[in-house]
């Protein structure tokens, strides 16, 4: 019974495929896998915008949107209709083709990464044996489209915004990938499905999630911080700065293209969150062995929503970083720590199981964390700026 509910979507797909002639089956199968994902995640985006606006409002002791529909839940509909009916303005000097392609590429890239995300048991569009690699490769296509948008707009604000975004995204791509390396080391596979399966076991009632190891929790925190920066969210929202570069790289976009950028940004956030779940939080696996009767996709989306709420919480709390703080943090703290974390994961692997390896690896990571944070702090000397003029 529980097995049927858990596999309901897989069973429905196979039942539908039974009516399709054999030759068309691969194509129909792909469409049947892709369409629900393409529908589900934009819906999640709509829900998230409401959640975010209401959550942020509550954190600032406001109501948030509460006029459209019941408690404002139709707000995304209103926003969507508004952006669809707005005029699509393209600057006269813009590179028309690239200007048009940038949001399209961004949305395509954002959707492509969902191909390797296991949404539930046996629920993955493509179980690639290099799934993690695919994810990061496609993920960096977003940077390309950001630069396309910034360059083709032919506006100094969008160009500066794009440069900032690129600098930030490339800097944080490094710790993002290195933080996930520990998981690849532990699982011994680049396939996301295998990584989740490795974590789906239980000792007593406790799950085998990688987050419950010293290198796992460090990797998870680094991954989440880097994911925040990767998706241009507060406190790393330097590419958008009302006071200095207005909306950043998509300043020259209006109407639905703007909405597409917005959508892609959120889809990217969901994708990296989904990857964090896959790598560290056991994917679709239940948190306790006695809760395995709840369908796997419920667990996956529950974890996803939890992470989204955490993102909103952080956005409601932290002020923005300065560009130099951002870069210092990426290169002087996150990158060394993630490298040390890899060493820690190696030590963990070769030491016998028990409290000793817990102690050793935790000590290594904590010590390096403290030292690195000290280094970040000491670096705060300010001096009078001297201007040198061209003679």
């Amino acid at each position: 019974m529980f097995e049927t509910i858990d596999q309901i979507f897989v069973l429905i797909k196979h039942w539908l495929l039974g009516y399709v002639p054999g030759m068309a089956q691969p194509l129909i199968s792909a469409i049947l896998s892709v369409v629900p994902v393409v529908i589900a995640f934009p819906l999640l985006f709509a829900i998230t915008t409401v959640l975010e606006r209401k959550g942020l409002g509550r954190m600032q002791n406001r109501y948030g949107p509460n006029r459209t529909g019941w408690f404002g839940i139709l707000q995304p509909m209103a926003d969507g209709i508004k952006s669809l009916t707005k005029e699509d303005i393209v600057p006269r000097t813009a590179d028309q083709l690239v200007h048009f392609l940038a949001p399209v590429v961004m949305v395509i890239a954002s959707f492509l990464v969902y191909a390797v995300v296991p949404l539930g048991r046996n629920m993955v569009i493509a179980d690639l044996n290099a799934g993690v690699l695919f994810f990061f490769a496609i993920g960096s296509m977003v940077e390309l489209s950001v630069f396309m948008a910034g360059w083709s707009s032919h506006s100094k604000y969008s160009l500066l915004g794009a440069m900032r975004a690129i600098a930030q995204m490339i800097s944080y791509e490094m710790p993002l990938v290195l933080a996930s390396v520990v998981v690849i080391m532990a699982a011994g596979s680049l396939s996301t499905v295998t990584i989740v399966n490795m974590q789906a076991g239980y000792t007593g009632i406790w799950p085998h999630w990688y987050v419950f190891t010293p290198w796992g929790i460090t990797g998870f925190i680094i991954f989440m911080i880097a994911a925040t920066a990767e998706s241009n969210r507060c406190p790393f929202d330097m590419p958008e700065g009302e006071s200095e570069i207005i909306a950043g790289y998509f300043i020259e976009y209006s109407g639905f293209k703007f909405a597409l950028f917005f959508l892609a940004e959120y889809l990217g956030m969901f994708a990296t969150s989904a990857m964090a779940i896959t790598f560290f939080l056991g994917g679709w696996a239940a948190p306790f062995s006695f809760l395995t009767w709840i369908p796997s996709y419920v667990w996956f989306f529950g974890k996803l929503l939890t992470i989204i709420c955490a993102f909103i919480w952080v956005r409601g709390t932290l002020p923005r970083l300065r560009m130099d703080q951002l870069m210092n943090f990426a290169w002087k703290f996150m990158l060394p720590l993630s490298l040390i974390n890899i060493v820690g994961a190696g030590i963990w692997h070769f030491m016998p199981a028990g409290f000793t390896r817990w102690g050793v690896v935790s000590l290594l990571i904590l010590l390096s964390c403290v030292l690195l944070s000290r280094g970040l702090r000491r670096n705060k000397w300010f001096h009078v700026r001297t201007y040198r003029f061209a003679s």
Binding site: Y63, T317, L318, C369
Partner: protein
């Protein structure tokens, strides 16, 4: 330790988040169309015309002197003076505005028209929900739209209206006294003339002199009011 302040901040926002669901006092937002804050007495935005009594047509205090029209900095007032005179609220024959338009899309709410009006005929309103689908006609208020009763004025600005009413009452009482005195004097003069016409030898000048004394008061009162 790195991240201590972040944890503190997260705790603070979490407290706000849950607190706003428990404690209504945290939410200071007023849900506007349904609930409104009471207006403070000094609220003012656009001018309106005050009329005495119940009917705006005769009761309008405005006598179309056109001072406000001349003083208005953005020139949003347009007045056409009447050709004839009609009795105002006190019964005195006055000019009246045949047309009095204020374009509130031009008005900058500076209140200069109110300051310069010698008749307390134009005052500032508190009505602000004046949006219209017709941006030309809908925002051009004619004298029927502008006319509002003195009771309304007393309701929106009680203190100011009270002072204006007291001053007006005093002035009108004075004017009435003066008018009565003038009427009396006129009557006496007429009587004296009649008497003089009837009896050629003049009796004496005392009644005429006695009637002469309130005459300066008449002059000042009439100069002040109308």
């Amino acid at each position: 330790m790195l991240g201590e302040g972040i944890v503190k901040g997260l705790a603070e926002t979490a407290r706000n988040f849950f607190g706003s669901y428990v404690n209504k006092e945290r939410l200071t937002t007023v849900q506007f169309p349904e609930e409104r804050l009471p207006q403070i007495e000094a609220t003012r935005d656009f001018p309106f015309l005050v009329y005495d009594g119940t009917d705006p047509e005769p009761g309008l205090r405005c006598v179309a002197c056109q001072i406000c029209e001349k003083e208005c900095p953005p020139k949003c007032i347009y007045i056409v003076k009447s050709a004839d005179k009609k009795p105002d609220a006190t019964g005195k024959a006055q000019f009246y505005p045949a047309q009095f338009d204020i374009d509130i899309s031009v008005c900058m709410s500076c209140q200069i028209c109110v300051e310069v009006c010698p008749f307390d005929a134009i005052k500032m309103d508190v009505e602000f929900e004046m949006s219209s689908e017709d941006r030309f006609g809908g925002l051009l208020l004619d004298k029927y739209k502008l006319a509002k009763s003195n009771e309304y004025y007393n309701k929106i600005h009680p203190t100011e209206a009270g002072a204006v009413d007291a001053a007006l009452a005093e002035e009108r009482a004075k004017a009435k006294l003066a008018a009565e005195a003038k009427a009396k004097k006129d009557a006496e003069v007429a009587a004296a003339k009649a008497a003089a016409a009837a009896a050629p030898p003049p009796p004496d000048a005392t009644p005429a002199l006695a009637a002469e004394t309130p005459a300066p008061a008449v002059a000042t009162a009439s100069g002040e009011t109308k």
